[in-house]
Amino acid sequence: MASSCWGLPELICRFPEVDATAMRHARRAIDTGFRDLVREFSDVIDAATAPLQVFLNMLENTFVNTPWIIVFAVLLGVVWAGARSVRVVAGAALALLVIGWVGLWEDTMITLAMVTVSTLLAVALGLPVGIFTARSDRVQAVVNPTLDVMQTLPSFVYLIPVVVIFGIGKVPGLIAVVIYAIPPMIRLTNLGIRLVDREVIEAADAFGSSDRQKLWGVQLPLALPTIMAGVNQTIMMALAMVVIASMVGVGGLGKNVLQAINNQFFTVGFLNGFALVAIAIIFDRTSQAFGKRLQKHREAGHE
């Protein structure tokens, strides 16, 4: 067995592994314990996720069932409101038309609904956590390493506990996407608030601002460009994760990509991939231009 131990003792030569039976027992205990726990609380979990299911279905139905021309117009309206740029709107129009023309309209709508809901959730959860993190170094000392782990963990690994707890379907997929996409939102909210000029904060204090007046009147407005960068990254991560989340039953473009991988459908895979890229670019340009517009007043120069 230990053929080439160069005369070294066994303990140093071969890695001392934990006994295989002990490992098996431990694994089984954890897995079944976890599963039993989930079974125990399945009612609670179902009740908690029900509103998400309703909201997601509602948005998805709206996107899919409304005549395409209306959705198209509304989407372009949103892009215009955000970016205020003819070029971005024209690019978005072209991309959406091509997507529809190659028969991916419905799948794109499903993905869009998913990304919208998960981004809203990630922002709604990430913003308060980020604010909380910015307020205390002790909280930050816990949150930051957690986010580090979340961001280095391979995205597939997220799916395991999510599936165990929530099962297969749209909502588990949504939860996985939100967990995956939330770190930049928390990080950049925290960073943005911490980077606000100390003297300006001091001025707010000197004029007798309460904590709330300081948060809404000074910290958040001044952190907004950084927070918007967080929203932008969150959207991008959500788009990346919807493809992987299709493994647990999320429909749309991601599912097509997954099927294309399984069946080696080269063209289908790339068409869907490009559709995702197109959506990503539209989102990215719109949110970035919006963020830039928010800080226009920072530009120097006399009239």
Binding site: E199, V200, A206, F207, G208, G217, P221, G301, H302, E303
Partner: protein
């Protein structure tokens, strides 16, 4: 002035920065030095045993080199920094004992602050920045806006109401800072090196603006600077701070004529004495029966102005008179010249 403003009384104020200031306060009170506190215990002595009265309705200047504790001291007055020991009394209350809520009310109603780097809100226009203090007090806009516009007008920024700070020069930004502070209608105006970041010419402009406003408003101004000329120009009373301790307190003239120690002497050495010393200080009592000159000047006039007027009018000597026009003494050009020459420089030349 009808409304007499109260003095700010600072009593036995100590501030130690570090992990456990309370543990070292007794040692510091017993005489542990700043260097020893830092070397042996890793704490920074910010202020030690400050006793100072800042008279109501006047400009008090706190002066010192960078790191001497000026910012620390001024931030105690509105409670931005809490002391390790001591009290600050204003209108019968100890600022250091106020609760968070009381402190907020005190800051809203009684103090306003102007900052070295302006500290304007970049996302608010000039008008909105000026409104800031009133917004915080929840004064309705309909009531607050006319006030803000009036102050913007007073600091010379009419027409710039809808500009953002980034569109203004440094001097204009600090005018906004001043308008923001004045709009609060607080008794106390705290100015931490408010003009130090400005170019020399603009700085002199701002000093004039402040003096003009003060002529009318009579606020209790606490002005911080590291520039003696600025201190002499603005300060009714000057306090010199070094390593967190007061070195000397007095009027500009007192400090220039009688520096308490070498540190203060080094500070005042380069100053233009003719702008500080009053005619009354130099005048000599006339001999009995001496014939008095015709011309007369007020005793409070500084030597520079007396000399200029005397040369202009062709007088070699003049009487110095008090407010009622009574003669206090006589002054001549050679006495003025002698007083203007710095004794320290004179010594080094004879040596």
């Amino acid at each position: 002035m009808s409304d007499i403003r109260p003095d700010i009384e600072i009593r036995n104020l100590y501030k130690i920065f570090g992990a456990d200031p309370g543990a070292h306060i007794e040692a510091v009170k017993a005489g542990l030095s700043k260097t020893d506190l830092n070397r042996k215990h890793g704490h920074v002595l910010g202020l030690q045993d400050i006793n100072l009265t800042l008279p109501g309705g006047q400009i008090s200047v706190i002066m010192g080199l960078s790191g001497s504790g000026k910012s620390t001291l001024i931030r105690h007055i509105n409670g931005l920094i809490a002391p390790t020991a001591g009290e600050i009394l204003y209108d019968g209350e100890d600022v250091c004992r106020m609760s968070e809520a009381e402190l907020r009310r005190f800051r809203r109603k009684r103090t306003a602050m102007v900052f070295q780097k302006f500290a304007l809100l970049p996302h608010r226009t000039v008008l909105e920045n000026t409104l800031y203090g009133l917004d915080i007090q929840r004064v309705p806009r309909a009531e607050a806006e006319p006030i803000a516009r009036r102050w913007i007008d007073r600091v010379g920024l009419k027409g710039f109401e809808s500009h953002y700070p980034a569109q203004l020069s440094g001097g204009m930004q600090q005018r906004v800072g001043l308008a923001r502070a004045l709009a609060n209608d607080a008794d106390i105006l705290l100015m931490d090196e408010a003009f130090s970041a400005l170019d020399p010419l603009i700085r002199v402009d701002m000093q004039k603006v402040l003096l003009e406003l003060q002529e009318e408003l009579r606020k209790t101004v606490v002005f911080i600077t590291h520039d003696l000329d600025e201190a002499l120009r603005l300060g009714d009373k000057i306090a010199i701070l070094r390593d967190g301790a007061l070195e000397q307190v007095g009027t500009g003239q007192e400090i220039v004529l009688n520096p308490a120690n070498d540190y203060v002497a080094a500070f005042v050495r380069e100053v233009n004495r003719s702008r500080v010393i009053h005619a009354g200080t130099v005048a000599r009592v006339p001999e009995p029966g001496e014939s008095l000159p015709e011309a007369s000047y007020p005793a409070r006039l500084v030597l520079e102005k007396v000399a200029r007027r005397m040369t202009r009018d062709g007088h070699r000597a003049a009487r110095v008179v008090d407010r009622n026009g009574d003669t206090q003494g006589v002054i001549d050009l050679s006495a003025i010249l002698e007083a203007m020459v710095n004794p320290a420089t004179a010594d080094s030349e004879t040596a």
